[in-house]
């Protein structure tokens, strides 16, 4: 499990349930690596501000993370983490590699 203060997605079933029951969702799928930690950190701060969005992380190396790894929107991604934004269960934006606070905020503003 990732050592963050975010809520974790731990299975495919939980993933489906989250997308089904929430309008705005962001899931950051990664490891506790140098490019991933700053994204989790920014999300932890943004979670307080964007109460209309559900913030989650997911461990990249668990088998069920195929739900993110194999998304068509993540095809060609070769940098961790994969950060995916969902509106009504559909992917609206996906980013690869490190993103800073401002970049994530800009997407949240634009999409949600």
């Amino acid at each position: 499990m990732l050592q963050t203060n975010l809520k974790h997605v731990e299975s495919e079933a939980q993933y489906s349930e989250i997308l089904q029951n929430n309008e705005n969702v962001i899931i950051c799928c990664g490891r506790m690596g140098p490019m991933c930690v700053p994204v989790y950190d920014a999300m932890e701060d943004l979670e307080k501000e964007y109460t209309n969005v559900k913030f989650y992380d997911m461990e990249f190396d668990i088998p069920d993370a195929h739900v993110i790894r194999n998304l068509p929107e993540c095809r060609g991604f070769m940098g961790l983490p994969f950060t995916v934004y969902y509106k009504n269960g559909k992917v609206v934006t996906a980013t690869t590699s490190i993103q800073n606070y401002e970049q994530i905020k800009e997407i949240l503003e634009r999409e949600f």
Partner: protein
């Protein structure tokens, strides 16, 4: 004392800034640390730290967390992921404005904004970041299993990471602008004896191209001016670091030609009451240990400065 008034404001929460915060808050100096990114600075961009004395092998993330907790335990306030929008360093009372509206004042400032990996700044670099271009071999190396990649740079990071990447890639080509490497001899030897590694010297990368992912790199030979195109699956860029001092351009603090802060032996900048520490400084060796030392000295001098006033 009002909540926005501090004795010292530390700008930057890497090892230098956190150390300064630990020392000043432990000395009962009211301290605020602010950072425009994640607490830990470049430290958290390091997977394994094995040479920090007194601490057995750890991660940058863990060491940063420990330093943050130490600073907080002494009463230091810390704000991360903020936007630095204005600074006024002249006069006895200095001010720092974040997020355009929140103004904080202090008697002294410690500028510890650190540095960042330098980008090549060539066409295609931003477009293919995470889509073939990476700045972290340990993070992204396994995406390049049995692929052909290039490593750009000639310092220790470039040579060591090139060797590490041969664990995954089928072929690694190091592209470097000079006819010799800046890396330590042992790193060069390791790379040279690795059968998967080849070298393109005295050459510049001019452009990265591809469709949705990186496919080719355009290389210019600096001696012959000949341009060649090479098909690749990935590129790892390690071309050094630069100081995070963009905010100080056109400000009163003296910088050298490389945009690094110049300090005196007390770590005071050209402005009275403004100290500096860590990778933002003009200095030769940039290590966590040297940043911690800088932060200590800057904080002790700032404390003395405040107590004299």
């Amino acid at each position: 004392m009002e909540s926005n008034q501090y004795d010292v404001i530390v700008i930057g929460a890497g090892p230098a800034g956190l150390t300064a915060g630990i020392y000043s808050s432990r000395a009962k100096i009211k301290t605020l640390i602010i950072d425009t990114g994640t607490i830990g600075g470049q430290m958290i961009l390091t997977f394994e730290i094995a040479n920090y004395p007194g601490v057995e092998s750890t991660t940058g993330y863990q060491l940063a967390k420990t330093m943050k907790n130490q600073a907080k335990s002494f009463g230091c306030d810390i704000l991360s992921n903020v936007r630095l929008t204005d600074v006024e360093f002249d006069g006895k009372i200095k001010s720092v404005t974040i997020n355009e509206k929140d103004k904080y004042t202090a008697k002294a400032i410690i500028w510890a904004t650190g540095g960042r990996s330098r980008m090549l700044n060539v066409p295609g670099e931003k477009k293919f970041k995470g889509r073939g271009i990476s700045y972290c071999a340990t993070c992204d190396g396994d995406f390049f299993q049995d692929k052909e990649i290039v490593v750009i740079g000639g310092g220790n990071s470039a040579l060591e990471e090139a060797v590490a990447l041969t664990k995954y890639a089928s072929k690694v080509t190091i592209i470097h602008e000079f006819d010799h490497f800046q890396a330590f001899e042992h790193a060069v030897l390791e790379a040279k004896k690795n059968p998967k590694i080849s070298f393109i010297m005295e050459s510049h990368v001019q452009e990265f191209t591809g469709n949705t992912s990186l496919e080719k790199v355009r290389i210019k030979n600096l001696k012959t001016s000949k341009i060649t195109e090479m098909s690749i699956d990935g590129a790892f860029i390690f071309v050094g670091y630069e100081a995070n001092n963009d905010f100080l351009k056109d400000k009163e603090i003296k910088l050298n030609d490389w945009n690094e802060v110049v300090v005196n032996s007390n770590y005071q900048t050209s402005v009275e009451g403004v100290f500096a520490a860590g990778d933002a400084l003009a200095k030769r060796y940039r290590q966590i240990t040297t940043a911690v030392a800088d932060g200590t000295i800057a904080a002790l001098n700032a404390i003395e400065y405040i107590n004299r006033k």
